[in-house]
Symmetry: none
Amino acid sequence: MSTSTARSPRWERRKESRPAELLAAALELFVERGYAATRLEEVAARAGVSKGTLYLYFGSKEDLFKAVVRDTIVPLIDKLRRGAEQSPLASAELLRVFLADWWEHFGASRLGGLAKLIVAEAGNFPEVARFFHDEVIAPHSEVLVSIIERGIERGEFAPVDPRVAAHLWIAPLALKAIWTHSMDALSPPELRVAPERLLRTHIDFVLAALRPDAAATGARR
Amino acid sequence: MSTSTARSPRWERRKESRPAELLAAALELFVERGYAATRLEEVAARAGVSKGTLYLYFGSKEDLFKAVVRDTIVPLIDKLRRGAEQSPLASAELLRVFLADWWEHFGASRLGGLAKLIVAEAGNFPEVARFFHDEVIAPHSEVLVSIIERGIERGEFAPVDPRVAAHLWIAPLALKAIWTHSMDALSPPELRVAPERLLRTHIDFVLAALRPDAAATGARR
Amino acid sequence: MSTSTARSPRWERRKESRPAELLAAALELFVERGYAATRLEEVAARAGVSKGTLYLYFGSKEDLFKAVVRDTIVPLIDKLRRGAEQSPLASAELLRVFLADWWEHFGASRLGGLAKLIVAEAGNFPEVARFFHDEVIAPHSEVLVSIIERGIERGEFAPVDPRVAAHLWIAPLALKAIWTHSMDALSPPELRVAPERLLRTHIDFVLAALRPDAAATGARR
Amino acid sequence: MSTSTARSPRWERRKESRPAELLAAALELFVERGYAATRLEEVAARAGVSKGTLYLYFGSKEDLFKAVVRDTIVPLIDKLRRGAEQSPLASAELLRVFLADWWEHFGASRLGGLAKLIVAEAGNFPEVARFFHDEVIAPHSEVLVSIIERGIERGEFAPVDPRVAAHLWIAPLALKAIWTHSMDALSPPELRVAPERLLRTHIDFVLAALRPDAAATGARR
DNA sequence: GATGAATGAGTCTTCATTCAT
DNA sequence: TATGAATGAAGACTCATTCAT
C-alpha cells in the first residue's frame, strides 16, 4: 500500500531486452517442436514473462513466428553481404573460404534449426518461405554461382554449370545442418559424422571436381 | 412418397479400398501441412468419406500418422532389399546405378515428402523418426558404404572414408527430394534445377572424385 | 452361389428369441454401467447379433431402455397382483410372508439392479421413473399399507401410521437390493451382511414393533 | 469510436470463488443427470463462466467429478469425527441423537444426492465408490455399531447382532435421502412421507426394538 | 431378415487471444 | 506495463442411427 519510491524492483529485467528474450525462447521452441506444437504460454514461460506480456510485443503467434525468422535471418544477411565480394584470392581459395564460412555462420549456428523449421512450414507459411528464399537462399546461391563463374572465366575451374554445381556444393552442408536439428538426436554421438571432417572432405572433393584438368566430362556445359 | 426411384446411393461399401485411400489422402496432407495442421476431417473429405469412417480404420490421428509412415516406407524397404546386392558390375557402374535408382525410387517418389515430414516431426515423434532411421536411412547408408568399400578394396576407388563419402554422395539428392516438397514450390519452374540434370552431374562428380588417381588428398584416410 | 435348399443354417438362433436375448443383454449392461455408458454395439455383441439387428427390434436406445424396464417389471406386476390378497392368515403371518416374498421375487432378483438404474436415471427419464413408480412402487406400497391397516383394524397390530410404517418396513430390503448392485462389490464378501440374515432379523423387528402391546408411543397415530 | 464509456465488463476476475461455484454447479447437475449426461458447458454456464474457465480449475470431467465428491464429503467427515464420541448419555439417547444428527447433516444435506450419484456410478468409478465407502459409509457404520455394542454391554439394549442392526437402523433414512433426489419428484408433495415424521417414528421403533425386554427373539445373537 | 460399413451430431479438450486488475 | 483469469473457436473422438449389400 505504501507508495514509497524505494521499494525493491519487482521486475528485474530491463524491458528493452524483453523482445529479444522472447524471440530467443520462441526460436528454440519452434525449432524443437514445430510451429503448431509450440504453445505461446511456454514461450513466455521460457522467457520468464507471462503470456499477456508476449502480446505487448507481438500481435499474434504468426507475428512472433515471422519476427523470429526475420530476427534470425537479418544479421546473417548483413554478414553475407560484407563477405566474399571483391577478393584478391584465387577462386579455389575463395570457394574454400566461402564453404568454411558458410558452415561456421550458418550450418553450425541456429540457422540450421530455422531452415528445418521453414522447410517444414513452407506449405503453411508461403510468405515466410519466400522471405527465406529471397533473403537467404537466393543471395547465397548467387554468391556461390558468381565465385564459380569467376573461376571458370579465369580458367581456374573446369567449365561446369554454375547453378547445378552450386546446389551440389552446398547440399551436403545444408542437409547436415538440417539433420543436426532432427534425426541426429537419434544416432549415438560416436556414430555421427563429425561436421568438421565432413566439411574438410567436402571441400577437397569440390576443389578436385573443379580442377580444370578434371575429367568429369558429364558436368561440362 | 418417393420422388424418384433412381436416386444415387448416399454411400458405398468399400471396405477393401478405404484404408489405402485414406492413407493416400493423409500422406498428401501431412506432407503438405505437417502433422498438427492436418485436420482429420479434411483427410476424410479428400478420401471421399466422412470423419467417422476414418475412425473405423485408424484409432487416432497418431495411429494414422504412423500407418502412413509405415505404409509408405515398407514397400520401399522391400525394394531396397532386392536391389544392388551381389553384382558383377564394376564398382563405378554399381555406384552410378545405385544413385540413379535411389533417385528414381526414393527421391522422385513420395518418399521425399515423407522425409520432409519426418525431419519436421522428429522432435514430436521420436519413435517414428527412429523407425525411419532404422528402416530407411541406415540400410541405405550401409549399402552405399559397402559399395564404396568394395570399390576401394578392388582399387577401383580412391581410398576415402566411406561413411563421410556416403553422406556426401547422397546429400544432394536427399536435399533435392526434401526441397521438392517445400521450397521448390516458390521458385518459378524455369529457375529450378532439373532433377535429371542434377543427378547426372552429381554422378559424374562423384565418380571423378573417386577415381583412384584423383588428387583429392584431403579425403584420403 | 448355389441356391440349394439344403445348406446349413447360417443363423442358429430362432428369431423369436432375439428380442428376449437383446433385452437380457441390455438389462445386464444398463444395470452395470448406467444408461449413457452402455453402448448399443456391446448390447448387440452380448446378445450375439450385430448392431443393425438390434434396430430391427427396437427403434432407438431409449426404446430399448423402456422395453427393458417394461419387460423386467411386467411379470413382477402380475406376480404381485396374484399374491397376498384375501388371505386367511393372521396379519403378522401375512406380513412375514409379504416381506419374505418381496425379498425373494424383488430384492434377490434382477429388480434390484433395475431399481438402481431407475433411481439413477429418474432425472433423465421421468416417464420411465413414473412408470416404475406407478406400476411397482405404488402397488407394493398399497399392499403393504393394506396389510398393516388390516392388522390394526383387527387389533393384531399396534396403531401406527401405515404409510410411514410401510416405508420403514420396506426400506432395509430395498436399500440392500440397490446396494447389491453397486457398493457391495467393494466390500469383501465376508464383511457383507448376508441377505437372509438381514431379512430374518428385520422381520422379527417389524413384528416386535407392531405387537399391540409395544410401547413405541411416538409411532401411534 | 466508443459508443459508451460505461458498458459493463465482459467478465470479472474471481479466482477465489470460481472453484466453489463450479463445484456447486457440478454437484447439482451430476446429481440431477448423472455423470455422463452432464455436459461441462452446462456446468460452466450454471456457474456463470465459460467452458474454458472450468478447465483452469479442473483438468478433466473426471477430475471435476472426483473433486465434487471429495469436496462434498470431506467437511462431512470432519463433522462425523467430532460427533458422538465419549458421551455420558444413556445409550438410547445416544442412538436417538445419532440418528437425528445423521438425518440433519447427511440425509437432509446434499449428501443424499451424492449418495444417489455414487450408487449410480459405482460401476464406472470404482475408486470413487471406494473412497465414499471408506470415508463415509464405513466410519458411520462403525460409530453406529459401537453405540449398539455399548448399549448391549451395559444392558441398555437387547443383544442383537450390531452389524445387522446398524444396517436396519440406517436404511430407512438412507433410502429416504436417495429417494428425495430421484423418485420423490414424481409423487405429489402431499403424498410424500414427511422426513421429520419418518425420522421420529423410525427412532421410536428402533428404541422399542432394542429395549432389553423386547421379545424380538430372532434377533438375539 | 441380418449385417456392418458409413454417417454426422454431440462432447470433451486445447490454446491463441482478450482484457479486468 | 505486466499479469493471468477468462474467453470461445477449433479440432479430436465417440457412438446412436442409417442403409447398401
